[in-house]
Amino acid sequence: MKAPKISIDHTKCTIPFDCKRCLQRCPQGVFWVLPVKNVRFQETNAKEPGAWKLTVQYRAFCTACGKCVEVCPVDAIIITPNTSDREEKHDRLS
């Protein structure tokens, strides 16, 4: 069974390290938040837009439960089922 596809709109999700709702809610621990900005002698500001990036790392463990979509305050996350797989299953059932 192929894992569902997860897309993140980075124009909406700008301060993931400060917001962290999806990261803490995900039962499977699928997401990662990475400091994109790494400056010598300086700690990256959690509230600076664009300094952090939310990524999908362990997608194979996503169950498409939709909790991340539910808790996202800016509606940046979209989960889509893996279509090819779905069609196959449909064929098998019919």
């Binding site: 938040v33 010598r40 194979a60």
Partner: protein
């Protein structure tokens, strides 16, 4: 003895051999050294991502990528589980020792550990003095500990149910693995645990040199140990009201041993078991 003990242990456990704790202390910056380290990390992270995506989409190259990553990790950053007793022995060898925030939990749960009581990771060796160069890597700062303080700290986290593993950061003195830290880990927010258990990269977290064994005569079935196993090796046998340990699944972290009020669980040496001495 695991493969690292054979190569670098010199009669001891590899992480208890002081020679594996040293970077060249007064190394002059070699031309091109830093870019190499950075490009290695970029290359490795790209490979990880490729592999995770291949697993998620069930692509045929997943197995090939898995083997490639395992070899890469084997030579550059292997980790191994170790029980609390070995942690305390390492505290005696490694100086300085500093606690800091956990990078796995920072990435996976966006946890922001900001002070000494919150820190859950330990960095070893003189490299820790350079932490201020990259404060984001050591987000929240570091706290240098005395030997006794470090021992108390490890014991406290062990009581809390955190599993310990020794981390290697590339090569140090004479091309040996450079022991850089001891993590206190918890599933699912630990890279090593996930990569070993979920993605089957054995060299990213080798089993420890011990396995847990239970004495059924002493076990009274209280079940305290059952909630501490990170590996699904220990379960309560409900029919007999005794705890039972699957020694093939056991990683030998010793969490169950430390929690047992009747001392029914003992760690035994892995090499003493014919069928387990090659299971890492």
């Amino acid at each position: 003895m695991c493969e690292y003990c054979v190569q670098y242990g010199e009669g001891n456990l590899w992480y208890l051999n002081p020679r594996n704790h040293g970077r060249q202390l007064y190394r002059r910056p070699r031309p091109g050294f830093a870019p190499d380290a950075i490009s290695y990390r970029e290359e490795r992270d790209k490979l990880w991502h490729e592999y995770f995506e291949a697993v998620a989409d069930e692509l045929p190259q997943a197995e090939e990528l898995r083997l490639k990553l395992d070899r890469l990790v084997q030579g550059n950053e292997p980790c191994q589980v170790l029980p609390l007793t070995d942690c305390l022995k390492m505290v005696e060898i490694a100086q300085p020792i500093a606690s800091m925030s956990c990078i796995c939990r920072k990435y996976m749960r966006a946890s922001d550990e900001r002070s000494a009581p919150e820190y859950t990771c330990a960095g070893l060796g003189v490299g820790m003095f350079k932490w201020e160069r990259w404060p984001e890597r050591y987000r929240g700062g570091v706290h240098f500990m005395s030997r006794q303080e470090a021992k108390d700290w490890f014991t406290r986290l062990d009581k809390k149910g955190m599993m310990h593993c020794v981390m290697v950061y590339g090569t140090g003195y004479e091309g040996r693995p450079f022991v850089g830290g001891i993590c206190n880990c918890d599933y699912p927010d630990c890279f090593e645990l996930r990569h070993r258990l979920d993605y089957n990269i054995p060299h990213h977290l080798l089993k420890s040199h011990y396995v847990a064994m239970i004495d059924f005569n002493l076990c009274n079935g209280c079940g305290i140990c059952a909630q501490r196993c990170q590996f699904g090796a220990l379960k309560m046998e409900n029919s007999r009201r005794k705890a039972n340990i699957d020694m093939l699944r056991c990683f030998g972290c010793g969490l169950c041993e430390n929690s047992c009020p009747r001392r029914a669980i003992k760690l035994v040496e892995r090499v003493s078991m014919l069928q387990l001495k090659e299971v890492w």
